[in-house]
Symmetry: C2
Subunit: 325 residues, 2 copies
């Protein structure tokens, strides 16, 4: 008899899918270097704090993953995500005393940089008559904040940034982070805000050269990315507090899907976002609550990540006291 | 009897495909604003130069276009292109006395910025003890060049930057630029370095909401983007000097395809790039020549765009004297 898991598929099938995904993935470049950085970062932050407490570490994932359609990648499918949620949340986690491993899509938003324009170097600076460079007055506060707070977080060892592009890089790095954080037990958290591809083209079945655009339509078959969240929870870091995200454009199916994700992947929380209102309001779904979290519109510049991280930190504290796996 | 064109399809069929593409495209935002900017830029640059000559204007397209897979776009297919070729070529065109309309993918390389690191604001600057911001010594030259030369080109009216993201935006903007440049006759040039999607999902047949990842593989059908190059040559700006690009990963089929593109789309030149060597060498294919262009490896920092733009400007000058449509 097959043993089926929470996903309703035999555990063996999922294990085989995951094995096949990782085996078919192109090897991660710089994996030694990433491993070394992770080790140092976790060692530094797992020392007790002055008051005898251990510093908590959260892995924030941010931005979208890509799925290459060709081995020598010219075309790929991309999942849109600016990375605003992950970058902003990182700032609030650091403020709350967490150390953050920021696993982000290359080119997506960076912590402390959300008030900058799209092309900051060209837009924030000007050239003076004395042939030196000066920050434009209008951007001076945003530039100061970006450079000083960002550099301080990195220098003080509270922020480790690890970039990815493809779904293959992302899942390999997430596995490395998770197995590294296992030693922290309930003090570790995963805040999985990245927009991860659901479908991929297995590397080996992929066109080696560029797809030729002969006449006629192009038909493509993509296979599902195995559900790694469950493996993260069960094998990679079973004690870590896990939060995933659900984004839908259709509000009607959003909460239902968030609820399903909570159960299927054994998450501790699912943050439900509706595409159009996600910057003002989200709903935090747990096994026995639905908490609506809104930004304070009476406070200029308040963002929904401020109350959201407050709720999460509170629940994480309760979990650290009494882990309930 | 159908009249077939260079593509071997009845002209009526192509016209219908193009009509259907533009009709199904979401309307371009800010089209009035873009129209106004184009008008001013061309007026300013079509005044005679001191020596009685007219300034030439080139439209450089750069970066890749995206194809949305959903109307409220979460997933899309992207064509990879850093925009390095287009951005660098823009610098050399301006140096050669051209005015440049730089039609670029948001977030791709910008002219005068190719020596900057990936995240210039965070990497090039530091915070000093006197709580002011300073350029790091190691990046000081690159930052100065980026800010001073870029600002000068814009301020002097030689550089107009127009950003796009989707294939719909790109082709609508290209049409606007082309019909605006028509009045310059042979003095106008198109240098089409952007990586344009070959396939798209017609806007109206697209899922309104996010594609649901139910079980099973995802099958997608994409239709061909109509061949706009021919329409650009025949209708939008029939006198303009036109250069397109061919990128292949397989060197064996590259020159053959470049030759075909030259004839099919009536280009004046096709620049043939092989993915792995394209930064060192390209082949310029014309109706009667194949000119191999290489960067000078004995000169530190020389780029292939330097000799490439020299060849192109020379041929454009001959064309201006004696247009041969």
């Amino acid at each position: 008899m097959d043993i089926t898991n929470e996903l309703g598929v035999p555990q063996e099938t999922l294990d085989a899918e995951i094995k096949s995904f990782f085996e078919s993935a192109p090897p991660l470049k710089n994996s030694d270097d990433i491993g070394e950085k992770l080790k140092k970062f976790i060692e530094r932050n797992s020392l007790s704090l002055g008051n005898g407490e251990t510093r908590r570490v959260v892995c924030v994932t941010s931005g979208g993953t890509t799925v290459p359609l060709e081995q020598r990648c010219v075309r790929y499918i991309d999942n849109f995500s600016s990375g605003h949620r992950g970058a902003t949340s990182t700032e609030y986690f650091i403020k709350a005393g967490y150390a953050v491993i920021f696993l982000y899509r290359r080119g997506s938003y960076q912590p402390y940089c959300r008030s900058l324009p799209e092309d900051p170097l060209l837009e924030c600076f000007e050239y003076t008559d004395e042939s030196s460079i000066r920050v434009r007055e209008s951007h001076s506060e945003a530039v100061k904040k970006a450079i000083s707070e960002h550099h301080a977080a990195v220098a003080e060892g509270f922020l480790l940034k690890l970039p990815f592009t493809t779904i293959f890089e992302y899942l390999q790095m997430l596995q490395m982070v998770a197995t590294s954080l296992r030693s922290l037990g309930a003090h570790a958290m995963f805040y999985l805000a990245a927009a991860v591809s659901d479908f991929y083209v297995p590397w080996k079945s992929m066109a080696e050269h560029k797809i030729q655009s002969a006449s006629g339509p192009l038909d493509m078959r993509l296979v599902q990315v195995p559900k790694m969240l469950l493996v993260l929870r069960k094998d990679w870091a079973p004690m870590a507090f896990c939060i995933s995200f659900k984004l839908e454009t259709d509000i009607k199916i959003l909460l239902e899907k968030a609820d399903m994700a909570l159960k299927k992947y054994k998450m501790h929380m699912v943050v439900a976002n509706e595409l159009l209102t996600r910057k003002d309001e989200v709903v935090v779904v747990t096994s026995n609550e639905k908490i609506s979290v809104r930004r304070d519109k009476t406070q200029v510049g308040d963002v929904v990540e401020n109350p959201l991280i407050r709720v999460i930190v509170e629940r994480h504290s309760a979990y650290v006291e009494k882990p309930d796996i």
